[in-house]
């Protein structure tokens, strides 16, 4: 295959892959014409930010659910085996490559923003869009509010 340098067409690849697995119906990705937009309520240097990942806890019990972990000390590794990432091209042994707690902390110490919230959060990647919008997202919002987050850096694998 010639590499044109164009971004990888993941939706088309996924459609072809699931058809090859014998699934009759294609997955329908969420699509919205309207996009909500919230500005930071204060200067970035005064903002407390939360990190959010799609990885699971290292000692995962197999159940996909919203979870939270401490940023200090940061976890050495997280559970990524159940996620769709490119196992032939890379690895997830470096947690900073998908959940950059230390990089963000360095920038906070520099004064770029006020600091990370004490917890980061993990959201399950769910086939069901309803479960994400009606269950996971509202619970995450509450945790961010409880932690005093002004904004969030979301890092899906």
């Amino acid at each position: 295959m010639v590499d044109t340098g164009e971004p990888v067409p993941y939706m088309e690849r996924t459609r072809q892959y699931y058809r090859a697995l014998g699934y009759a119906k294609d997955y329908v990705w969420a699509h919205h014409d309207e996009v909500p937009f919230a500005k930071l309520s204060k200067p970035l240097s005064d903002c407390r930010l939360a990190l959010v990942t799609t990885a699971g806890p290292a000692d995962h019990g197999g159940k996909r659910q919203l979870w939270s972990g401490a940023i200090d000390p940061p976890p050495a590794r997280l559970h990524t085996a159940n996620l769709a990432w490119d196992r032939e091209s890379t690895h997830t042994d470096d947690r900073e490559s998908f959940l950059p707690i230390e990089a963000a902390s360095t920038l906070a110490r520099e004064g770029v923003f006020a600091g990370l919230t004490p917890r980061f959060h993990g959201v399950p990647t769910d086939y069901s869009q309803r479960s994400t919008t009606e269950d996971v997202a509202p619970k995450l919002l509450q945790r961010l509010r409880d932690d005093g987050a002004d904004g969030a850096i979301l890092c899906p694998l």
Binding site: G5, V35, A38, L40, T80, D86, R87, L107, V123, L140
Partner: protein, 123 residues
């Protein structure tokens, strides 16, 4: 994660996504997206490259504070490893030689799912 971003924004929390699946994120429609053109798995920079990871987070923070409106996508100025120019062709590809194996895999998955469903119905 795109749906999560939308919910947070609708409730007053500003977000920026750092991710590598451009088409999936833009299909959904999100407020701010820093696109890193890497294989899925390392959206925040090459493994162990602390300098690149810090630059990517810094750029994401700039986007969080500076985007003027929704659907703002910015591409990070980094590429995947020069030693691996063919990575884009790899993920999820279906080779003709693998068709039988994939179909059998799909059938096994459907069997397992049906079994789990039946067990949930009649424990």
């Amino acid at each position: 994660m795109s749906l999560v971003a939308r919910h947070l924004e609708a409730n007053g929390i500003a977000t920026v996504i750092i991710g590598s699946a451009l088409d999936v994120v833009e299909q959904c429609g999100v407020p701010r997206f820093l696109f890193t053109d890497f294989p899925l798995g390392n959206p925040c920079g090459h493994p162990w490259d602390r300098e690149m990871q810090e630059k990517i987070v810094r750029q994401a923070l700039g986007l969080l504070a500076g985007a003027a409106g929704p659907r703002t996508t910015v591409k990070a100025p980094f590429t995947w490893k020069e030693s691996d120019p063919q990575w884009r062709g790899r993920y999820g590809r279906v080779n003709a030689a693998e068709r039988e194996r994939l179909l059998a895999l799909g059938e096994e998955r459907r069997r397992q799912k049906a079994k789990a469903k039946a067990a949930a119905r009649d424990p």
